[in-house]
Symmetry: C2
């Protein structure tokens, strides 16, 4: 059961001028599932992506990087589920390229104008012939208002589709932002999530796209974790079609640029948090906030140590305020000169530990009250400086084990 996450409704998702989406059932791994999606972009769209830092990155990730570097202008995106085309060596690369070539032939464009994405089981050959066979149906389905279908079409172990939309004024024009994401396990994105796609019709100077995509990923997908496993296929793509008619945004620090970035970040964060809310087996949504660090890096280290500790995560699952486990995780997070006598710990508004020891005023029933909530903020004070950072995670339940012990079968 996702934590405080609703299924998106088609009517809440604004189409983005310049983007059409088609989805079909290609039977990549199983029959009767939407598993093949295409995004068709009108000429002139600016596109940037950020990709997994996993050194075992998947074939489609390698091909995406090549095709973005080719600079011919991206005109299409093709996404399959059921097979990650990762751990597949040279043959996997050939199959990812074949997918792009097949879609390019249909559209009369160059293969380098297509970005391929795959998600699903690792180390099995991509059934490229099924994808090729499915392309005509996907193309015939292409419509501007198919964002919800696409959100459904990229799901794997997700229990709900993830899609959000916002509109914002940029240069006197109403600009639309719509994004989708997928992912529920093998989630500790490093540069991006499993798969996230976001489009806006705003005009944005092409040179801004790459830093914008990095900043958005950094404030959203790079701050969530389900199980600490950085995927081989993490990809986050940002598209700006330029159809809104605004004067192109040439600086992210201008009033227009800042407004647009804030709205895009909001969508990115909702998409990233939705992945945690729908994390495999999740019953709680946990915000881990670490303050008082010397720099953001050490705050993140501590936050991730807490967010990845199986002991902390099972205590949240049990609603058991066994909060010493959080202190233990702070201690092994890797800050060598940490002074435990400066550590503070809060659970929402409850001050649990002070100067590294139990707060004399702390009462177990107060901790218990917060632990029973479905949304909990853990706040740690390091007492070393003024930096802070936040990550979002979920608890660790029986259901996680069940899902991951049964995923392939």
């Amino acid at each position: 059961m996702p934590v405080n996450l609703q299924a998106p409704r088609a009517q809440d998702l604004f189409p983005v001028a310049g983007v059409r989406i088609g989805v079909t059932e290609a039977g990549v791994r199983k029959q009767g599932r939407k598993d093949l999606s295409v995004f068709l972009l009108e000429p002139g769209a600016a596109v940037a992506g950020v990709f997994t830092r996993n050194r075992f990155c998947a074939a489609p990730v390698l091909v995406c990087r090549e095709h973005l570097a080719a600079g011919l202008g991206i005109r299409a995106i093709v996404v399959n589920t059921g097979n990650a085309n990762a751990g597949t060596g040279e043959d996997g690369l050939a199959r990812a390229r074949a997918t792009c070539a097949a879609l390019a032939r249909h559209l009369g464009i160059a293969p380098e104008q297509v970005l391929p994405f795959s998600t699903g089981v690792i180390m099995e050959p991509l059934p490229v012939e099924r994808i090729e066979a499915g392309l005509p149906a996907a193309l015939a389905d292409a419509q501007p208002d198919h964002w919800l279908r696409a959100a459904e079409g990229i799901m794997t172990t997700d229990t709900l589709a993830k899609a959000f939309s916002r509109q914002v004024q940029v240069g006197g024009r109403t600009v639309t932002i719509t994004g989708i994401s997928k992912g529920a396990g093998m989630i500790r994105p490093n540069m991006a999530t499993m798969l996230g796609f976001m489009a806006t019709d705003a005009a944005i100077a092409p040179a801004l796209m790459k830093p914008l995509a990095s900043e958005l990923a950094d404030g959203s997908f790079n701050r969530v974790t389900v199980d600490g496993d950085t995927s081989t296929n993490d990809s986050f793509v940002v598209i700006a079609t330029g159809k809104a008619g605004n004067a192109p945004v040439t600086s992210l620090d201008s009033a227009d640029g800042a407004a647009l970035k804030a709205a895009m970040l909001e969508v990115a964060r909702l998409l990233a948090q939705a992945i945690v809310r729908d994390g495999e087996g999740a019953t709680k949504f946990i915000t881990v906030r670490v303050e008082g660090g010397r720099d953001g890096d050490e705050c993140r280290k501590v936050a991730y140590a807490i967010a990845h500790s199986p002991l902390v995560k099972t205590a949240f699952f049990a609603s058991d305020p066994n909060l010493g486990r959080i202190l233990a995780a702070v201690g092994y997070a890797g800050i060598d000169d940490l002074d435990q006598t400066l550590i503070d710990l809060y659970l929402d508004d409850v001050h649990v530990a002070v100067k590294g020891g139990r707060n004399p005023a702390y009462r177990e029933e107060d901790g218990q009250r917060v632990m029973k909530q479905s949304e909990i903020t853990v706040r740690v004070g390091l007492g070393r400086g003024s930096a802070a950072d936040t990550v979002w995670t979920c608890d660790f339940s029986h259901e996680y084990v069940t899902i991951n012990a049964d995923y392939r079968s």
Copy 2:
């Protein structure tokens, strides 16, 4: 159910001349449990310890370090379960010192000659008055042949006591080594395990004790992980009573020194592996061997990434050869210039992946056969050099979640 681990039998454990052990029920946390153990050492014993690197180390760990540094000669060890005396601030230190002072009064020695150890729940005040009240009964129980009682007396979530004994010839004398350990969760020792105690009656030059303890921990407790959580209380203590009558070992590289060290390492490794075999919810014992690294450090990084991945651990639990998960963990282990096209993966004798892709000769049923075993070796070749290292871990089951969601209640 522990994996291929038998309960030790009292008759298999050799007493160590110069060490007497007493155990009692002090009711530290619950009634009817052996939870207080004392080790009494004759004058002249050489003692060294290695302790957790968790910066949130427990009060008894801080006091142990002080007392070893004081150099008065250690004469007694006191261990309680039920309460870790960690995350307890200044008050916790005072309580650890009070425990030592109480035992010292009974024995007519200095408090600095006592080493205190605690294990159990974190961030609750140590009930030192119950420990003090229990000391007379523990002292009255002291006998040389109580190693099994001590192994039972230090258990927390362990399902079996852990104790091993060996004898070896050193300088023409038969020398005895006996050790015990405890721990089943919050296990990723860094310098030591939860608790391990090992004694020999061999005479060893005091200056060798500290490097010997480090080497033993490094080859045993520092190579195992259950859940990646480095405890606040990890401690491993090595005692040499010198009662065997051998000419003191003055070099670990001499024939005698090497023979003694090898036997002690064997006992340390059995104790450390026993912790994994009895890991919370463990159904399988996994050896992760990483070869072909540039140095041992990067081999360990990769081995721990595999050993800590919840996805890998749940796949082992399910006996599902979902081996792409292992490749993914190799990829995110933190070797920035890793070349995925050089990676080999073996499951016991089955060659699963070659050059970063699925081995064409690999058959799912071969992977399945190995995954069903209770003891499995994962072997990864990095193709970067000639270094290698090994860690031992267990799988991740429903039972782990159950144990850790219920531990305090």
